[in-house]
Point group: C2
Chain length 307, copies 2
């Protein structure tokens, strides 16, 4: 990148979000961040590459929005309250129109997640974003993957399979007859929502948590493995959106719900005595043993941790 | 990446460094980190791309080592004590021999910087690394770029220009007659040292600090700009290594020292009353005004912030 390109990028990225926790943001060798007393830092990093994590010619605002939400979703899965984010972006060129749209998506996601942009790096190459997100939890209250115990119930937020169906719409592989369904599914892929408030509300309640990024079966297997338990899923209880329920190919819809990734819903285990919050659907249970059992076997696609 | 490739990578990256500050490392949705009471977090992210930041066919151990040091150098420039690092790596393939060598370099750099690997992400694509490094400083004691005042002295650690000369050796553009000189210069590019201990020792002493990554003149300009001062450099005082002093082309050597980047030495301003530590060389002074003045004008290369 030339000096001119750098200053162009600097202009677009200079004021995205703010927070009193940020003592020093963009512009020095590092950002300086206050973690509240009695809290621990939660930090995660996530790369999104054109052609792998989003299709070529994906709208720049959606690239930014989706990438921030995917990264922020890891904070939600820890029950963390947002602090800020750093963006390392690799760009083939510094195009003002593209950067302007990208910055709009970045700002929208920053506002929605309360994650101000506090630092980053810009390099030249194939389009790729690495987002590092920071959050905080009161000491020893972070939601982990390894706390599920036999007797716990398995619950998930929202609906599953929409993002996989939405990607199929974007790629021209799925053609919903209803325009509203097509739009809904595409938005679920392009504009997912990190369940940050839900994650925060589950601190001290959920015994284990993960976000559904690899697909329900795979992510359930991650909890089962980390917690050294078995988890049973009732496939009929897995929540489907109205748009996915309306699909003529119900087998495909059900399969996306089980194995499609990128929904960024929260998958948690709750102890027997805890009431199930309204925003969650109970879909299974934790039992003694190892692995994941589901009454409907998946036929492939993104799922390779099946026990 | 397939499940098999991921587990291969996981094997190599699973135990690189450790620290009591890390409550939860690799393997959950986020890493959980304790920042000591009364301290603020310092965080920086840095991308290194094959063919841009290091030559194609660069040794994998050197890629890892150099990238960690480049990132850690930003912590040194803040005067931060190291906490940990996250590695987002994009790889064309998961090759065991390559990964093994890369992990060796990563471990060596982790040990040298006391930055345990606490998290990351692995994706497939052209070779690229984004390292996020975390450190801490006692509250309000981080070294910033904006504190230089007229009357301060400009000082730099080590010697400058070696990395640029080393890259020229690696690229076959420079052929030192002495083998030891060739080896020394190459190592200065491939195995730089982040000046972490020096940075920590300058907390509460230096008025401003930056690491020399863009080149002496460019990085001096960053301090001058942030501090709203002018800085004068005596080019004859800029420290050269024995290897660079031995170059027949003294004009080129001097130019590398002024404009070559990647040395990762610390450039600081010290108030008039502070003694200059043995590890630093005084090379100029801060005066009223704006920009950077040097008695020797650069003829190009990496320097585009000249006032």
């Amino acid at each position: 990148m030339s000096a001119g390109e750098f200053s162009l990028i600097e202009t677009f990225f200079s004021r995205i979000g703010e927070s009193s926790a940020i003592e020093l943001g963009i512009g020095d060798d590092a950002a300086t961040v206050r973690v509240p007393d009695g809290h621990t830092l939660q930090i995660s990093t996530d790369t999104a590459i054109e052609g792998v994590h989003f299709p070529p010619d994906f709208a720049p605002a959606d690239i930014a929005y989706r990438s921030v939400m995917a990264a922020a979703s890891d904070l939600a899965a820890m029950g963390a309250s947002p602090i800020g984010m750093l963006l390392a972006i690799t760009l083939p060129t510094a195009d003002a129109a593209w950067l302007s749209c990208f910055a709009d998506g970045l700002r929208a996601a920053s506002d929605a997640t309360r994650l101000p942009l506090i630092g980053g790096d810009t390099t030249r190459g194939g389009l790729s974003l690495t987002l590092t997100v920071l959050g905080a939890t009161p000491e020893s209250s972070g939601l982990r993957r390894d706390g599920a115990r036999a007797g716990d119930r398995l619950c998930v937020s929202g609906s599953l399979g929409d993002a996989a169906a939405g990607l199929a719409v974007i790629q021209g592989k799925l053609h919903p007859t209803e325009k509203a369904a097509a739009q809904f599914l595409q938005a679920r892929f392009a504009r997912p929502t990190a369940r940050l408030a839900l994650g925060e509300s589950l601190r001290g309640v959920a015994t284990a948590a993960i976000d559904v990024s690899d697909g329900l079966l795979a992510d359930t297997a991650h909890i089962a493995h980390a917690s050294a338990v078995a988890i049973e899923i009732d496939s009929g209880k897995v929540p489907l959106s109205w748009a996915l329920k309306g699909m003529p190919d119900t087998v495909q819809a059900r399969q996306w719900a089980l194995t499609g990734g990128d929904d960024y819903e929260l998958l948690v285990t709750l102890p027997p005595e805890a009431p199930v919050p309204e925003t969650l659907t109970e879909i299974g249970r934790v039992v003694a043993g190892r692995g994941v059992r589901c009454d409907q076997a998946p036929t492939g696609g993104g799922y390779d941790h099946f026990a």
